[in-house]
């Protein structure tokens, strides 16, 4: 089923889009894995994950079974739906002229 195109401003910033795209391909991912793959600092990743978690797009888990203290992130069904919609919206923008005004910055 083709997802409904829906531009999502929360996901769109490049770092958050990369985080969500990475999590969309995984059932879950370790904090350190996401950090290393996206070349982020601990604090930068924590901040972005907190924003996404607050929006209900991801869930943070701290599995107790491992000896190592781990933090895992997974995309929620809402996050998955919003990501699919956002990707569809980006494809639409590429395929045809965007209906909304483009974000063109004009310098004086």
């Amino acid at each position: 089923m083709t997802p409904e195109a829906r531009f999502d401003e929360l996901i769109h910033p490049s770092t958050r889009l990369s985080i969500v795209a990475l999590l969309a391909a995984a059932d879950w991912a370790d904090f350190a894995f996401v950090r290393d793959q996206l070349d982020l600092s601990d604090s930068a990743l924590s901040k972005q994950l907190a924003t996404l978690e607050e929006a209900g797009y991801i869930a943070i888990e701290r599995p107790l079974s491992d000896r190592r203290r781990r933090v895992r992130a997974r995309l929620t069904p809402l996050g998955r739906e919003r990501y699919a919609g956002h990707v569809a919206a980006l494809h639409e923008i590429i395929a045809e002229a965007p209906a909304a005004p483009a974000s063109v910055s004009v310098e004086d």
Binding site: F7, E9, H12, S14, L17, S18, I19, V20, A21, L22, A24, A25, A26, D27, W28, A29, D30, A32, F33, Q37, L38, D66, R70, V87, L90, H91, I93, I94, P98, A100, P101, A102, S103, V104
Partner: protein, 160 residues
């Protein structure tokens, strides 16, 4: 709300695809899995040739099969090579684990047929030679099967 330009949208999708590929790159089995399996293959071949009691060979085969089943499930058929990430089944391909199992079953068939042919030819220790040959095939072919599964996953990503 400000929408990105076509160029910005393209860059955003490229970034998303790159992130997705970093997960696809994690599909695979750890090196110790192939080496361990190859070692078990040879041990079974040696037992089949040198053990006088059939029940020892049968018991060892069942033990290796059960051990492999446990490890294979722990690695989720290549979707959880490390404890860092678990690749989604629809990303790896829902039949990815079946491809690995099919590869292993094909090697079992090659081992049996080769051992029978060597035995018919009068070679000494046919099971050992057959298992060593197949263990080499396993070490060379196993990672290639995982490469192929990764390539398929990447192709699907590019098509989306």
């Amino acid at each position: 709300m400000t929408y990105p330009t076509k160029a910005e949208a393209r860059v955003a999708l490229q970034g998303a695809e790159q992130a997705r590929r970093s997960v696809i790159d994690q599909i695979g089995m750890p090196g110790w899995y192939w080496w361990g399996l190859a070692a078990c293959w040879i041990v079974l071949g040696v037992l089949a040739d040198v053990s006088a009691a059939w029940w020892i060979v049968l018991g060892a085969t069942v033990a290796v099969g059960a051990g492999h089943s446990y490890v294979f499930q722990r690695l989720v058929g290549g979707r959880q090579r490390t404890g860092d990430v678990k690749v989604r089944a629809d990303v790896a391909g829902r039949d990815a684990h079946l491809l690995v199992i099919a590869f292993l079953l094909a090697l079992v068939a090659v081992t049996v047929v080769l051992a029978l042919l060597l035995d018919a030819d009068g070679a000494g220790h046919p099971s050992i030679w057959a298992s060593v040959f197949v263990a080499i095939l396993l070490l060379l072919g196993g990672p290639r099967v995982m490469d192929w599964i990764r390539a398929r996953a990447t192709e699907r990503t590019a098509a989306q």
